[in-house]
Amino acid sequence: MSPREAVLRVVAWLRRDRLSAQLAAELETHADLLARDLEREGLSPAEARAAARRQLGNVTALRESSRDAWGFPVVEAVLQDLRYAVRGLVNAPAFTATVVITLGLGIGANAAMFAVIDRLMFRPFPLLRDPGSVHRVYVETTVTRRNAYPVIPYTRYLDLVRSAPSIRQHAAVSEWRVAVGTGQASREQKVAGVSASFFGFFDIRPVHGRFFGPAEDQVPMGALVAVLAHDYWRNTLGSRDLLGQTLRVGSLDYTVIGIAPPGFVGTVQGRAPDIFIPVTTVPANIEESSRNTFFTAYNWDWVEVIVRLKPGVSEAAATADLTTAYRRSRAIQRETNPRVLPDSVAHPRAFIGPMRSAAGPDAGMESRVLLWVSGVAAIVLLIACANVANLMLARVLRRQREIAVRLALGVSRARLLAQFVLEALMLSLVGIAVGLLLAQWGGSAIRQLLLPEGSTFTLRTDWRTIGVATACALAAALLTTVAPAILAARADMTASLKAGARGGTYRRSTLRSALLVAQGALSVLLLVGAGLFVRSLHNVLRIPLGYDARQVVEVYPDFRELRLGDAELRATLNRLLETARAIPATGGAARMNSGLFRSNTAQLQVPGIDSVEQLGRFNVQVTSPGYFDVMRTRILRGRAYDERDGPGAPLVAVVSNAMARVVWPGRDPIGQCMQVTWNASANLPTDPCTRVIGVAEDAASERLTDERRFMYYLNAEQMGGGWASRILVRLNGRPTLAERERVRTAMQAAMPGNGFVVVTPLQDAIDDQSRGWRLGATMFAAFGMLALVVAAVGLYGVISYTVAQRMHELAMRVALGARSRDILRLVLRQGTGYAAAGVAIGLLLAAVASRWIEPLLYREHPRDPLVFGGVCAIMVGVGVLASIGPALRATRADPNRVLRAD
């Protein structure tokens, strides 16, 4: 059909009623003219009219066949089937609702999971030009704790890109949260320090002004210019004309030179940055001590590197290039710091990886759990499909007579099949709508658990997710039509028509049984997964922490542009500490250096041991006296440091029990000598001994599940000025918003200059640590329960149906003397039989599959008999529960009524 013809057909189809009327008039003319000619040939007017009519034949058929030219016969047939399908579905509201909700749940689960995973791992950053050629650079050595790491010193960045010929474009990126503005108007904002080359990675132009260029991004210090993100400029700054004006960002004043286009978020994973500044202005702004060394020293990991490869360069070639450059860089570093391990020991490697670090080599446990959970979502969809297929089968069985009648009337089996597909498609389409609604609603909950704050989660305009939902729906339509279509195509017309209104005798359908068992087995699989995760989470939550953080808040003072000398800073921190102690209704305050799970290390030497490093990683915490009281960390031996251990007194330390045991095995740790050196590039220590005066209980500091809690504590009073600036305040209850605000107000009042304080519950850091298990337990349990409910509904439906079909037989049994108990047992046995078969297969599957999730479990055997047994009991219980209703109905079989009905 040519395009022109198609257009003419559409026009004709739209005007088909008028065309039909015109044709009628035309035929009328034809008949009149014919009659006139016949009259001329000698017929009487009446005879002529009759003859003309006869000759014209069946005018209706004629008009029908003309109609074919005015439209699309196939389309019209489909439209007719569609009307038929809609009528059929509207007439069976219970069936339609069940199917749509079941499919909606399945599709929704998948859409929600995809939406989250896509945002976390796969979606290219908006406006990035040719995203396929852009990568993030990771480095790894075999000795670092984390295997691959995307954050490196700026000096390293310069080394890597200087001598890697496969790289076409490169940029360093570094994100910070700093205060922006002055006085009351200052707010904490997200600021991205980026290379001037960064903007060249994107297809963007500034909406006002310009971006900064290479001349403004130079070592030792870039120009103080800033580009504002469009959203920030519009929403927070009210779209004012700010070009050329000054904005206080962190501790320095920047000149606004441009506004980025809307939708530009850079390559930042979490909340989009509000301000972009030259990366070479970051050190002077944020890390004053590094402002003159950040491009020559290697002691500060702070930039991430993105590169665009030259066309045709393979990832392997780029990795080889980068690794060579990385080794060369380490050689340069070794010249000033002989402690940099030789390549033969460290096996350094630099390589390119995914832009989204959640999909990268240093992805956390959450990413892996998420991938598993999306597999779980797929299983939920399978279960939903099995259930819907079962419902459709039941519907075909019920409609057997109708189908037979239609076949007898000459409807082709192909047309019949098309109708089934159409019906399934329509159900799936409504399922998409329901699914997306559920995904939007349920996904918001998942998002809060997983996605960084401020990330958008609107599925209405999320075409990738809608596409996936549609694919799921089409797959579901296909999966659910196969079985009923086969059954319908095999329908034996004569048998069905003969069977009469009673509609077929009871016949166990193997297909339906298989679907039921499959549903049960998959549900068991999910429930076992849920059980394993719940038990792991339980184990994680029972880990003794070595402190009690539940009622403690951390107050972090940000002094901004205020540059305090050592003595001044110490005095200020102590004044803040006194302020904290004076807050009414609190249980003490102390200072600490590193946040929880943000551990710090120093060079540690112990006389008599060649290399302490070989024993493991020893974390150091610098605190004020009183820390152990506030944290409720028990001192097992000796004492904690106090006022006696001032600046002039001998240096003292408290060590963790685990450290004491590994460093001085079988000896009394009290009084032992440790030598602590801070500057990594300095030569061997000349520091005097720091004496151990106490042993504290082991406290979680590295990772929650780390067994080796090697830790030592130093007294901030005996160190330089800037140490231990976090102030811990123990409250008398939970850190509610009101309590936190009370602390914040009190502490803010004591802050000098433009500085401000941020108050966070200490427990947040601990919750972060158990998030992976929490996520696994929540999602597996939610999807497992969903699967269980769907499977139970399926079982109930099938048992009800068979009971209805068997009423005749059951009534006969009652008439022959069967008691209620016998009937009950008969039906229950069928229901639990399905459940038991599902359990058996499901447990087998689970026993195999659970080994794969073992790395994600914590102190939990992947074949925990408690979990397997529990799931077994739940499934059989659900089997009984789902069949008890129909079974009770069966016992009411009244032979008098049922048998007489025939």
Binding site: R4, E5, L8, R9, A12, L19, Q22, L23, A25, E26, L27, T29, H30, D32, L33, L34, D37, Q55, L56, G57, N58, A61, L62, S65, S66, D68, A69, W70
Partner: protein, 112 residues
């Protein structure tokens, strides 16, 4: 001349209609009469195929129509051929002639 009209060769209806309209504008009845007359009553166009064919050809853009008065003052739909129709006619005519010539040749050779 036989009383029973000859059967229409398959596929020639469009050709006959186009050829007729190439000679002038006709209404439906006129087309049937024209073909009947020119074929000396050997070919008779069934109304049951004429009107669907006209609809079809109109949608294909080969012919166009408008309502006009007949000389006797009746409203009738008059068909005329379009440029696309003339192209189609040339094509179909050539095809038909070749096909007929070939068929006749086969018939002659088989008889010999």
């Amino acid at each position: 001349m036989s009383d029973t009209p000859a059967p229409l060769l398959a596929g020639t209806l469009d050709l006959l209609i186009l050829k007729t309209l190439a000679a002038g504008t006709f209404h439906g009845y006129g087309i049937a009469q024209h073909i009947k007359r020119l074929s000396r009553e050997a070919l008779r166009i069934e109304e049951g195929s004429l009107y669907p064919a006209l609809s079809r050809m109109q949608v294909k853009g080969w012919i166009a129509s408008e309502w006009k008065q007949t000389p006797t003052g009746r409203e009738a739909r008059y068909y005329r051929i379009t440029a696309a129709g003339r192209k189609q006619l040339g094509q179909e005519e050539a095809d038909f002639k070749r096909s007929i010539a070939a068929t006749v040749r086969v018939l002659k050779l088989s008889d010999a």
